[in-house]
Amino acid sequence: MAIDKFQTIQSACVPLAIENVDTDQIIPARFLKATERKYFDKNLFRDWRYDNNNQPIATFPLNNAKYNGSIIVSGKNFGSGSSREHAAWAIYDYGFRVVISSFFADIFKGNALNNGLLPVQVTPEFLENLFAEIENDPKTEVEVNLAKQTIILKTTGAQESFEINSYKKECLQKGFDDIDYLLSIKNKIESYESTRI
């Protein structure tokens, strides 16, 4: 079950300029009842996107036509809370391929990487600068180059490198997933088991 290969992405961004965006906001628990990975994107940020009468809330960036692109930019501690992978699925299936923040919650980060969604951790200064540029011009583009592990703010040329472990990087570039790897080392697992009994 390969994941989609990650290419270099150049895109405008959708800004969510608050901290601690938790997975209950990304996808509320009442929308986790499916038994297949379907339609989670419809309820992405449901309670911030729609009011009590299911009408879009105009001020929410996802409903604002001036913001486009396949990158979310958000404040520190993005993806905190529940381990629900539905959060990563909802973001990916909506069309996002990168989330930029100054800090990610652990479980979300792992879930994102397992689905071809790249969490890019930047410095607080870069993030602040990026928010300012997007506010100034919503068409501001960012380039994320996985091979070089760089992120470039196209308007100012500001550049940073980001970290990713070499194993996960290769998985994303080649579209491999962990289960393919684990199945390939079945002998090692069985031999470990035999030492413990």
Binding site: M1, A17, I18, E19, N20, D22, D24, Q25, P28, A29, R30, L32, K33, A34, T35, E36, R37, D47, N52, G75, K76, N77, S80, G81, S82, S83, R84, E85, H86, A88, F103, F104, A105, D106, I107, G110, N111, N114, N115, N165, S166, Y167, K168, D177, D178, I179, Y181, L182, L183, I185, K186, K188, I189, Y192, E193, R196
Partner: protein, 461 residues
């Protein structure tokens, strides 16, 4: 150099290490529930493979189920389908299921310990972030995503980078009316909702070792709320006494062997942590939260801190509170006691300890939800249900309930709830609901007075 408790357990489970990448970690016990497992089972079908070690997996439906009339079919169609899917998948793969109405049914993190599935030195995972609960036994237990659930199904292993290690030491006696829940809410308020990210926490010091196993579970349970993947406490006599004689714990000669192994599970004197923090138990009062993450907590008599940033203001606006004000005395619409954090027998005892002869407040709806069938049974044996009934409160049936409101136990928009669960996120207990986290004792004070109250005052402690 010596090893930490965490190192000892983790290192003993490493099957393989990938250069520049994660460890392949062997998993002893895999707990599953209805919400995060179906897509993982589908993944196995798509690969044409079966669960490798079904005997190491235990399933129970908890997130989605009603807490009344559990003998009748589930009314909500989507919930029913998800619960049915768990029955179908576990049958197909030969996995033990404790379904609705089974004597061992309950919240996954309540039944693991009470059945003796959770034991010292194990690696335990579940597609649920509160899996850290089982760290109370000196095991490495943490929440995982659905892709990782599929990994464990397929190989009994997951790929994990080894986290950094933090030790939080608390010594001293907790004050009157101050409980394990207040202790962990205090720690999270000091660390913030992200201060533990990247770490696995060991809780050390006599404040923790003086806690019962139930109290230790409450502490470890909420490790994720400061961002830590998990938390653990070295096993001791309290642990071994709790574990002994349970359904799945070793018996006879095997018990002695295990005990010898478990007694080695402590942090060596010369072991080094990446970060060390220490607090004094005497500084802790009964805690409440005032914002929209568990890090936004304070003593029940204190006033909300003043900060000037957009995230903080958004949280207070949502909660309809103002910076600088006290919450004490604010009317409470709902009280919820239950969840994997505080749904164990000791929590129900704590809630009812001062309830006798008192009525719940007219303005407050109270939901008491035992964590499992066994907790429910014991509560009935101890007469807890009767004390509740005399106060005008019905004991409901086991499940996750209003902790995340996937079932009908939803707090209506705008209403204020005092909850013994683990998260006060926006809409966590229902769209627009406002949540204050507390201990069962502080929740009892709110249930009786109908407002946020100091349990020390209310119960003359």
């Amino acid at each position: 150099m010596g090893k930490t408790l965490f190192d000892k357990v983790w290192d003993a489970h490493v099957v393989d290490s990938i250069k520049g990448g994660p460890d392949v970690l062997y998993i002893d016990k895999h707990l599953i529930h209805e919400v995060t497992s179906p897509v993982a089972f589908l993944g196995l079908d798509n690969r044409g493979i079966k669960v490798l070690r079904p005997e190491n997996t235990v399933a129970t439906p908890d997130h989605n189920i009603p807490t009344m009339n559990q003998d009748k079919p589930i009314q909500d169609e989507l919930s029913r389908m998800q619960v049915d899917k768990l029955s179908e998948n576990t049958k197909k793969h030969g996995i033990t299921l404790y379904g609705l109405n089974h004597q061992y049914h309950g919240v996954v993190h309540v039944i693991g310990p009470e059945l003796g599935i959770s034991q010292p030195g194990m690696t335990i995972v579940c597609g649920d972030s509160h899996t850290a609960t089982h760290g109370a036994f000196g095991s490495v237990a943490f929440g995982i995503g659905t892709s990782e659930v599929e990994m464990v199904f397929a190989s009994q292993c997951i790929m994990q980078p080894k986290p950094k290690k933090m030790r939080i030491t608390v010594n001293g006696q907790l004050g009157k009316g101050v409980t394990a829940k207040d202790l962990i809410l205090y720690i999270i308020s000091k660390l913030t909702a992200s201060g533990g990210t990247g770490y696995f926490i060991e809780y050390a010091g006599n404040t923790f070792t003086n806690l019962s196993m139930e109290g230790r579970m409450t502490v470890c349970n909420m490790s994720i709320e400061c961002g830590a993947r998990g938390g653990l406490i070295a096993p001791d006599k309290t642990t071994f006494d709790y574990v002994k004689g349970r359904k799945f714990t070793p018996k006879g000669e095997e018990w002695g062997k295990k005990l010898t192994e478990w007694e080695k599970l402590y942090t060596d004197k010369d072991a080094v942590f990446d970060k060390e923090l220490a607090f004094d138990a005497a500084d802790i009062e009964p805690m409440i939260t005032y914002g929209t993450n568990p890090g936004m907590g304070m003593g029940v008599t204190q006033s909300i801190e003043v900060h000037n940033n957009a995230t903080y203001k958004k949280a207070l606006d949502y909660m309809q509170f103002k910076a600088g004000e006290q919450i004490l005395g604010t009317p409470v619409d709902y009280v919820f006691v239950g969840s994997c954090t505080n749904g164990r027998i000791e929590d129900l005892r704590e809630f009812t300890s001062f309830l006798k002869g008192k009525k719940k407040a007219d303005n407050t709806t109270v939901w008491i939800v035992p964590g499992s069938k066994q907790v429910e049974k014991q509560a009935i044996e101890e007469g807890i249900d009767k004390v509740l009934a005399e106060s005008g409160i019905i004991m409901r049936q086991p499940g996750c309930s209003a902790c995340l409101a996937m079932n009908d136990d939803k707090v209506p928009a705008g209403k204020l709830a005092v909850a013994t669960s683990n998260r006060n996120f926006e809409g966590r207990q229902g769209p627009g609901s406002r949540t204050i986290l507390s201990s069962p004792l502080t929740a009892a004070a709110a249930a009786i007075t109908g407002k946020i109250s100091d349990p020390r005052e209310e119960f003359k402690l």
